[in-house]
Amino acid sequence: MKQRDPELLLQHAPFLRQGMTTPTAMGDVLIALTPATLAGLWYFGISAVLVIGASIAGAVLTEIAFIGTERRGESLLDGSGLLTGLLLGLTLPPGLPMWMAFLGGVIALGLGKVIWGGLGNNLFNPALVGRAFLLATFPIAMTTWTTPDEAFWTFRATNFDIPFTYTEVDGITAATPLGLMKFEQQVMPLSNLFMGSTSGSLGETSGLLLILGGIYLYIRRDLDWRVPVSILLTVLVFSATLGLFDSERFPTPLFSVFSGGLLLGAIYMATDPVTSPTTPTGTWIFGIGIGLLVVLIRVFGGMPEGVMYAILLMNAATPLIDRFTQPRVFGHMRGDND
């Protein structure tokens, strides 16, 4: 028998409802990402729709296929699969074939989330697992960047590659600001990085809109401010220190913060509550670790960008950080915890 709306509600204390549930938190992140997604549409046109759509489809269909029927509705409605697909799509280059984006979504959900036991049990950020797989699997397609200044309805031929094929393009490719910096020593003006009119992944180009989304998340209390602040501060300080030694060779601190996927990663991916530490001290260690790794990989590594690996590596360290930063239980002496 199904219960109708009761006329008198009898309940135990507490009566204060905390409105924060998984679906609302996920919904907030989706809202916060909307401006950056729209900027992706603005700069990269129909390609953004195709690539992001394909990665969302891959993620959501995998969730439908692998989550048991009894938990399927709940798991789909919390929106985390949709969010994983969107985050993955925002980190992909605009000219990526749709089938690769779809495969990335399948891997992100399958190997990043479902196989660990679903939402809340995964060790690594699912979207970044999908991206790491794609980068290792299709290194050429994943590092072929196209220019943002084409008309909205320009169809990029590579988007429509038949599954399991890829046509290499030449002529219309453009290096990312970080690639230009690393391999050709050209510095992109900061205003372009701020507004987003540079080549790069779909959702990472506009610093301004990403920060706006982050502020919205902070106001809605969906995000631990320590994570992005510690990451960005570390990158600023470390870059400035390096700049003292050789300002020609090393990028300026502000360029470091606004180029590449740093803002997208720091605000939306590193802050994933499942894969970041729970204690305040741990959160600082986590963020500083990511910041250091990002600069180390960018400046001294072989690749122009290192945000993804930095976050994944610190994800792996998260259980250890949590274990070492447990606060003293009230009433216990120091050292009593064990």
Binding site: L111, I115, F133, A136, T137, F138, P139, A141, D161, I162, F164, T165, Y166, T167
Partner: protein, 216 residues
């Protein structure tokens, strides 16, 4: 089928499915992950392992009365090493290209837990005939596992099988499949499917048993 033939058959077949050295016992992981980036390497490695395992199981079972218990492991290792050396030089003479690709992993067959495990657990306690049947079954299971992994990785990673192009030039290779992570991913997924099938079979058998009980 007589009883002894039946026993032979059982010892042979258990290595292929029920006690498969890779998918069930998860032994011999080093060659499993290292040399399965193409089907031909997998087959060569499987063949060498088959030869070593059958040869050493035969010798160990034949000499089990004369091997002192206290030094049995070193005796097994010497017997295994003999066959590994033979396999090493034979591959070098017959297929130098494959030998070069397998590199250090042929001498490392000595350290394959599966081989020493069969000597310790089976060959040193059974007759020559049963030991050889067991070795044949186990190594066939090992070859099947190596080949499955090698074929999946070569088809996805290079779009070919045994070096023959399957899909034409447009195929975009999955680079990761040729690299070490591809080995771990493929092995993990195969183990997943294997365990899932075993579990399904077990549940099915339980249901059948229950139905029979309620019938009677």
């Amino acid at each position: 089928m007589t009883e002894s033939e039946n026993r032979d058959y059982n010892e042979f077949i258990k290595g292929i499915w029920r006690d498969n050295p890779v998918f069930v016992q998860v032994l011999g992981m080093c060659p499993m992950l290292a040399v399965t980036n193409s089907a031909i390497n997998a087959i060569a490695m499987g063949g060498a392992t088959l030869f070593v395992l059958v040869g050493s199981s035969f010798l160990v079972a034949a000499f089990k009365k004369w091997i002192p218990k206290q030094v049995r492991i070193s005796c097994f290792i010497i017997i295994i090493a003999t066959f590994v050396t033979i396999a090493d030089y034979t591959l070098l003479a017959l297929v130098p290209v494959v030998h070069k690709e397998l590199g250090a992993f042929i001498p490392l067959i000595v350290a394959n837990c599966m081989i020493l495990g069969r000597q310790e657990a089976f060959a040193s306690k059974n007759t020559v005939r049963l030991a050889v049947m067991d070795a044949l079954g186990m190594s066939t299971g090992f070859v099947i596992a190596l080949f499955t992994l090698g074929a999946v990785r070569e088809i996805l990673g290079a779009g070919s099988l045994f070096g023959i192009d399957l899909f034409g030039a447009a195929w975009e290779p999955w680079v990761i499949m040729i690299l070490p992570p591809g080995g771990f991913l493929t092995l993990g997924l195969i183990l997943l499917v294997f365990n899932w099938m075993t579990q399904r079979k077990q549940m099915f058998m339980e249901k059948v048993a229950e139905a029979q009980r309620s019938d009677s």
